[in-house]
Amino acid sequence: MRLSLYLVRDTPVHALHPVAKVWALLALLVAAFVTSSAGRGLLLWLIVAGLLAWGRAGANVYRLRWLFVLVFAMTWLVWSLFLRTEGAWVEIGPLHPSWQSVQMGLGMAMRITSFFALGLLFLSTTRIEEFACALRRCGVPPKVAFVFTLAFRLVPLFVEAALTVLDAQRCRGLDLSQGPWHQRARRYAMVIVPIFIGALRRADGMAIALEARGFQRAGTRTSYLRFRWTHRDSVASVCATLLAVAWLAL
């Protein structure tokens, strides 16, 4: 099973300088962060959808479609029901649904799914090594940049290990879908121990491998990846910045 999100494609989004990608990502995240209304959320959605199509990342959106639907629906529902606003239709305990809370819930759902989609776009079009390279270019020390990107490198591996451990326990009759929640929570603890021990063993092996390849060595480092800043990168950075400024100003 493929767990990494990077898609090998030859698109203008893939070809952008990693620093331009990081800058554009930050700018668009700012825009998403200040989005509260459904109208602006929809506009941002369309922009992000266009970028996903341009970067030919649709396969990943399809792969994670249920997560998108779940996050969107749950956010909208929770905000619509629990947000206290004027003019509630009914008030039952903590529930205060109103036209305003439904609108704000929709905006929040769009904001959160936009965050999610932007992250997906970045990881679908940027290799982890490019991300590390961009961080180094931005002045982040190489070791810090590596550790920062380590999470992205390891998450797919841990997910894979977790799935194997779950299968191993199911083969011994562990049914995680049955019983009350506290029993299920206890059963999950049985799964976590082997995952944790496996992670520790892997971390040990990785630390030695890093050391053997000179990770702790002092002195200058070089970079295999060579990127040239082009006018396309400038245009992408400026456009993303203008969008963020416009969203902040509106």
Binding site: M1, D167, L174, E211, R217, R221
Partner: protein, 568 residues
């Protein structure tokens, strides 16, 4: 040590002893070793003999990562090591660990190789040359943009080697580099080592593959932390009894030569065949019982024409595969990495649902059984025992499955004792599994499945990381299970486990069954086992050429001796 000595040797140990922190016994005792530059040294011995500890001393992960008490002199690349850490030798000493997957963390092959070069500050233009050379040396040209996660086991291992070769180390240390690989993958890695040796690369390899022992310049046999034998392969390998006592399987033809009294061992099956005078030998008593044991009177677990495709995979992992197993039958599933063996096992246990076809357990569709009912009938021991062990006490680990079945505590206790006794862990019921050796953890995983009283036990690569003696214990355990009426399905690359432990075998290639029959039939069909990248042991191949079916070198030797007797 003189300056001249230090230049000629890549590594030199004098009276070295090492005891891990908080360990009662030293792992190495007064070890003397000299590794000449440009040579290949193979270290072998039983598990726990100190092989990995010796490798760690040579790559300086002792004392950098494994603290303990170290005495004696360690010289590496002409330097007397005192305070030097692993980082001091980065790029000059390369180390490939047993768990090579933990050493791969990049998203492309080329990025994996570039990582170390970047850390060492190698100029980009020079990087291209080194990356091309290293990939060519391990036969991975054309893989530059591949994701390491998508490579086969053999390819990943070769990538781990290439990542260090790119650094152009003066000394390369490899700890069991062929563990987990199918016979073809092992062959690929050994070919790489062979070519590196020919190029003058200094290699120290912890390995027990007979072929690796034969290709070395120097073989070091460790026993309880001490050097039991050290010398050229010809000298050490002829000490068959010593090797066998130390859980190292000597090459088949060397054992045969010792058994029949030849002065020198033949170098190939063809040579042995010619020495024997190209005979037709009569079938000995031991082999006669094997050919007919493939009948399936009562089918216990059966898959019929199943097809399975992983999401996003271009081709199905299994295509119209049929499989059956009867009570007390021992079946081996063979095939190269990625041929669909584990997918088949997961379908047989209900972890995966086939897209087409059906699976029946005791004549009833597998899906009709509940999760616990299935677990009580089909046991699956995963390749890595650490993926299932989670308790702090051996007895609790074994009791987990029976408790899931809702059994009374008295019966749970009985089953725990019985299962632990069956795997030889009866004395370790109160031990913490975390501190058990790999072999014991493997047996614990088997016991935790046996305590469910399954009718079929599926063992996924059960000999990984086990030495010769431990493999012998496993074979005895499999026989005990058969006697109790359990069916055993083994997924394995280990040729001797198949020959000695199974009656029937199923060969998978590209997701389809290309052979399903008895072992004597398989041995007679080299085109099939080669297609599945399986290797029949040399002794069995030689016997087959003589018209004989044997399960061990000893059986072949007896047949040869019998013929000699008749001729006299």
């Amino acid at each position: 040590m003189t300056a001249q000595d230090s230049r000629a040797l890549a590594a030199c140990l004098r009276g070295v002893s090492f005891c891990y922190l908080q360990a009662g016994e030293p792992a190495l005792r007064s070890v003397d070793l000299a590794v000449p530059r440009g040579s290949m040294t193979v270290i072998c011995g039983a598990n726990g003999a100190g092989k990995s500890t010796l490798a760690r001393l040579l790559d300086r992960s002792i004392p950098s990562f494994y603290p303990g008490e170290l005495s004696g002199e360690v010289w590496l690349l002409g330097e007397r090591c005192r305070e030097q850490t692993m980082a001091s030798f980065a790029g000059r000493i390369g180390f490939v660990a047993q768990d090579f997957e933990a050493q791969l963390f990049s998203t492309s092959v080329v990025a994996e190789l570039a990582f170390g070069l970047e850390q060492l500050g190698v100029p980009p233009a020079e990087m291209n040359r080194r990356i091309s050379t290293a990939l060519a040396a391990v036969g991975l040209e054309g893989f530059e943009e591949r994701d390491p996660a998508s490579l086969s086991g053999g390819e990943k291992q070769r990538l781990a080697i290439a990542a260090l070769l790119a650094l152009e180390p003066e000394l390369l240390v490899l700890d069991e580099p062929t563990t987990d690989l199918d016979p073809q993958g092992k062959e690929e890695v050994l070919e790489v080592l062979w070519s590196l040796r020919a190029r003058g690369q200094t290699l120290v390899v912890v390995e027990h593959e007979p072929r690796a022992l034969e290709m070395a310049d120097q073989v070091v046999l460790l026993r309880a932390g001490e050097v039991a034998a050290c010398g050229a392969p010809g000298e050490v390998l002829r000490q068959v009894e010593l090797l066998e006592n130390n859980a190292v399987r000597p090459p088949d033809l060397v054992r045969l030569a010792a058994a029949v009294g030849w002065e020198t061992a033949p170098t190939s099956v063809q040579e042995a065949y010619e020495r024997l005078g190209a005979p037709r030998l009569s079938q000995g008593r031991a082999g006669s019982q094997d050919a007919a044991s493939t009948g399936a009177a009562n089918c216990l677990l059966a898959a019929r024409e199943i097809t399975y495709r992983y999401p996003e995979a271009p081709a199905p992992a299994l295509h119209e595969v049929s499989f059956r197993v009867s009570p007390a039958e021992r079946v081996a599933i063979l095939g190269q990495n990625g041929s669909g063996k584990t997918t088949l096992a997961r379908i047989l246990t209900g972890l995966l649902q086939p897209a087409q076809g059906s699976v029946e357990l005791e004549g009833r569709p597998l899906a009709a059984w509940s999760l616990t009912e299935r677990a009580a009938r089909v046991g699956y021991v995963f390749q890595n025992p650490d993926e299932q062990i989670f308790t702090a006490r051996v007895a609790d680990e074994v009791a987990f499955g029976p408790r899931q079945l809702g059994l009374a505590e008295g019966e749970v206790r009985e089953r725990v004792q019985e299962a632990l006794a069956l795997v030889g862990l009866g004395e370790r019921a109160n031990a913490d599994p975390f501190w058990l050796g790999k072999n014991e953890r493997q047996r614990l995983a088997v016991a935790s499945v046996l305590a469910m009283h399954p009718k079929v036990v599926i063992l996924d690569e059960p000999t990984t990381g086990l030495d010769q003696h431990e493999q012998r214990d496993l074979l005895q355990l499999i026989e005990r299970l058969r006697v109790r009426g359990m069916a055993v399905v083994m997924i394995t690359h280990n040729p001797w486990l198949v020959i000695e432990g199974a009656e029937r075998c199923v060969l998978l290639a590209g997701g389809t069954v290309i052979f399903d029959g008895s072992l004597p039939e398989l041995v007679q069909a080299p085109e099939l086992w080669r297609r599945a990248r399986f290797r029949v042991p040399a002794a069995v191949e030689l016997a087959a050429r003589c018209g004989l079916w044997v399960r061990s070198v000893e059986e072949l030797a007896r047949a040869v001796a019998g013929r000699a007797g008749r001729c006299a």
